[in-house]
């Protein structure tokens, strides 16, 4: 049988140790002085989606081709896309409207996973509170488009992997195109050769 009150005393010792320890031990002093001291977010951290563009011009470098896969897969349906069309009404491979309603978005990253063009990625910015639900929480294309350099800044590993993949794809495509061109050239050359030296039988 314990001496009555010993359990309570033990508890006080613990709290006292935590209080005094906070002056010497870093581990016990946990508070982050938030507005002055920003947390160092881990690389994987995510908040809301954004669109990546290559180069300098957001419109020209836009990777999105308005395939609408993300719109379809988005679980809470917060993405809204309208494809662009040229003057003749022919659909173009880019969105005219690309909206993400971050007042609905659940930051699940499924849009990122399903995007076949490496276009939509997760941002890390979380300071987006606003006085107006409809005005500033529906992000349109101009707010969503961010440069590849920015992407490299927030997710360096992932961004370089993505770049390598795109590069490999491009090379593959180039190689395929080159092979195709080569084949086409050969075929024409053969045809030309055939035309130049028609086989005997046809004479």
């Amino acid at each position: 049988m314990n001496f009555p009150g010993i359990g309570l005393l033990k508890g006080f010792v613990v709290t006292a140790r935590n209080f005094l320890g906070s002056y010497v031990e870093k581990d016990r002093l946990t508070t982050r002085q938030y507005p002055e001291e920003r947390p160092k977010l881990p690389e994987n951290s995510r908040s809301f989606p954004f669109l990546v563009f290559d180069g300098e011009d957001p419109e020209a470098g836009m990777r999105c081709v308005a395939c609408k896969i993300c719109e379809k897969e988005c679980p809470p349906q917060c993405i809204y896309i309208i494809q662009d069309r040229d003057a003749a009404g022919k659909p173009l491979k880019r969105p005219r409207i690309f909206d993400i309603d971050i007042s609905v978005c659940m930051s699940c990253q499924i849009c990122v996973e399903v995007c076949p063009f490496e276009s939509i990625r997760m941002d890390t910015d979380y300071e987006l509170s606003s006085f107006d639900r409809f005005g500033s929480l529906v992000l349109d294309k101009s707010k969503l488009l961010k440069s590849n350099a920015y992407y490299h800044g927030i997710h360096p590993t992932e961004a370089s992997e993505t770049d390598a993949r795109i590069e490999a794809d491009r090379k593959k495509k180039e190689a395929a195109a080159a092979a195709k061109a080569e084949a086409a050239r050969k075929a024409t050359a053969e045809k030309a050769a055939k035309a130049a030296h028609p086989p005997e039988e046809t004479k």
């Binding site: 069309r85 909206d99 309603d101």
Partner: protein, 203 residues
Amino acid sequence: MTEILEAIQSAFPSADVGILTNPSPCAQHSLLVAGKDALDVAKFLRDGLGYDFCSNVSGVDWPPKKVREVVVRKETVDGVESEVKETIEREVPGYLEVVYHLFSIAKRLGPVILRLRTGNRSDEVSLPSLTPVWKSADFQEREIYDLYGIHFEGHPDLRRLLMWEEFTDYPMRKDYVAPDDYEYEPTPHDEILAKVGPPKEVA
């Protein structure tokens, strides 16, 4: 599963019990029991076979549907017997179903799946409650009553569990239509788009 069926049949020769096979790779087959025998079978499962833990009770809605079946018919035309394939469209009446997942804690067996079906989806919706056998079915049967509208006879306290008392619909049924209050969504989607009228460029 067949042993359990045999045990039940030997205990209750008149009981209307059958096995429903499950085509999925996990092969969790289930026992389909008629409502009138359910209480007896349940008691036997608990006391006779040791399935003392009713883990999960779920409701399932099967609305009436049209099934296309290919029927092979033998036909005798002019003394020659031939097989004629015919597609028949058959209306399968809808019903509601309650699925009980049973485990045995002592023998570490399970799951045994017990299914009960109602006659239809409108007036013959009562089934015997298994709450007297397994207390754990209490809230879950109330939930099913709330969301599917199955009336459990013999339930000690059958009230709506999740929705308010004044609510009259059964929202988990497949034909439930949710109240239409999306009209102010900032990013329009499918039905809302249809209501607002398609944007002009979507031809």
